[in-house]
Symmetry: D2
Subunit: 201 residues, 4 copies
């Protein structure tokens, strides 16, 4: 129904996370109202992202280097962070969620996703080898926190990582499961309530 | 708009938990379709409830006595339950939720609600005195689990109970807070994520 | 898990419209907190409903007679209502919704439900014969408004009624379909938007 | 918390319709995973949109001209469309929703929004003058359909347009209001049910 140019952009926006064709269409109509300068600003910002952003060699978080030779992110370079703690997260959003708490002062490792099932190609997309290498080479690490979603995927990934990381004989921990703040016992699912009861303190 | 008889019943049903006037009206219309026997069955069941159900003298859970002299509920009378654990719950629904897990084998105490704020009359409605008495008199108790909602009300009540129960020098624990099963780190509120991180294991 | 007496009442409440076992359980616990007088009040109100309420001989709406010989509801007896308009509704709730508008001044006929599909036994539960009789015998009726839900069931019922009522040669109308007040064109389903366009005025 | 480059793009995406900072952040992380070619494809599509898309001189819908001199959209140029009907819509999305029905064969006019209140600057953003000019100059128009949301804004705009367009002595109609397809009488708001009753047919 839309012209090729419009449809092309609808299709591209439809691939954005959480965006369906209806929202993608609204994005396109939104852009048609923008003037040349505004479009240029958006396009530049997208190109800048590609040009300036790097993945940290150590934790694989994205970062913006201050000088061309910088290969590690601010967190990994920060001398006041505890090097004994390594928090494994699925992606940058989860890393950001933990950083925002200002409670965790260790380092991170961005796995790049979760196993959907025990599929080989899933595992290949994750940075399992890189994690092993990191743990092997960094003797400062004492505890590895698997900060993965308490979902089926997260649990499967955690189990797999525990197996992989066991030989390194570090302490491996997982986030506490239990009742979320503001939640109600009556509506908690059974697994959550079981965990809450077991992890009482 | 409705006749006195109908309106009266709408008003009474509107006081039921979770029921508003619209649902109460549906209840009344539902009952107008029932025949005499069905109405009698419902009325008998309500009267039976009042006649047969008692509150356990020990834990204040409701129960149906097997003989007229029975003053304690099945759980309190069950010799295979661990008498060292006392789980304090706000109401019978929360007790039922924990029983359903088949994981907890201790005893209970039904508090009768939560403090909405630090109001005197709130406290008077709760079985605080009875809880104190129970803990004072039952030397078998070693741990008191405050299984209260991790809401503002639940936390306030737990704090108050901790103060009240401190002199008895029993271990006092609370349910673990953290990510609920199936939840996602990204969408967890900050307090929940903090708890999950602190209570990692 | 619950005693026979409690479970019996949970089962009965679970049959109430919109009520599941969880809510039914809450109802029972709610009632255990009530004293004898309160229970008696509820039970009396339920019994009164059965005793006092009748179905109007003309429109089948429920009503509370002012004297023992009264066989018709206030609406049907009201001389200022227009006797030329007959509004067919599925049930008393829909009748009440229309009355509340204070816009309609005709009479009603309560059908007793909608066809779920073109099933014989569905039709037998509805007051089709009674509607035919009413239309046949009441020569004052000039327009029959089929005020049925614009759902599959409502449309099927309306089609069926139109066929049945055609021989009486009265004007037969249906509620206008279109965009609901506060709705948005963009989110309207296609059938609704088509109707809105066709019924523009 | 994010670097300047990332934050800049988060801010720009946050201005997209329906997008908040959280979703904007996900968009940015999504883009960091894309390779150079994919980024180039997106950027090109955005630039193409600006380069190729025009607003129709007649109806102000956006369109992609087939040749450089084309100033009117396909709909306005289509000789088989009825020139007697002019459907005024708030924006291109609403136009698209109506076109999708394949039921309307007249022409359109895209107003560019709705009045939020009777504010002067709101009106200035809308193509009121252009609409007046269009109606004045196009003698083929016989009916103007105000296909605006039945919301407070839509109704206010429709009232205002009716006043403005009255001197041209064309038939002015609005979309039918009533029960949406699949809706239920019982849950309809009063204004909707009133309209449905008034617009019965």
């Amino acid at each position: 129904m839309y012209s090729a140019t419009i449809q092309k952009l609808i299709d591209l926006f439809s691939q954005f996370p959480t965006v369906g064709p209806r929202t993608a269409t609204r994005f396109v109509f939104y852009l048609t109202k923008k003037n040349k300068e505004e479009i240029k600003e958006l396009v530049s910002a997208i190109l800048e992202l590609k040009r300036k952003i790097r993945f940290c060699q150590l934790c694989f978080n994205i970062f913006e280097p201050k000088e061309i030779s910088q290969q590690k992110c601010e967190i990994c370079l920060n001398p006041s962070r505890e090097r004994s703690l390594l928090c494994v997260v699925a992606n940058e959003i989860d890393l950001a969620a933990i950083e925002k708490l200002k409670k965790y002062n260790g380092l991170y490792f961005v796995l790049g996703g979760l196993m959907t099932k025990f599929k080989k190609n899933d595992l290949e997309k994750l940075r399992i080898k890189e994690l092993e290498k990191r743990v092997r080479e960094d003797s400062a690490i004492q505890e590895i926190i698997l900060a993965l979603n308490p979902t089926t995927e997260g649990e499967a990934t955690a189990l797999y990582l525990e197996k992989i990381l066991k030989p390194f004989q570090k302490k491996i921990s997982r986030l506490g499961k239990g009742l979320p703040v503001g939640g109600e016992l009556e509506y908690a699912d059974e697994e959550t309530l079981k965990s809450a009861l077991e992890q009482r303190k």
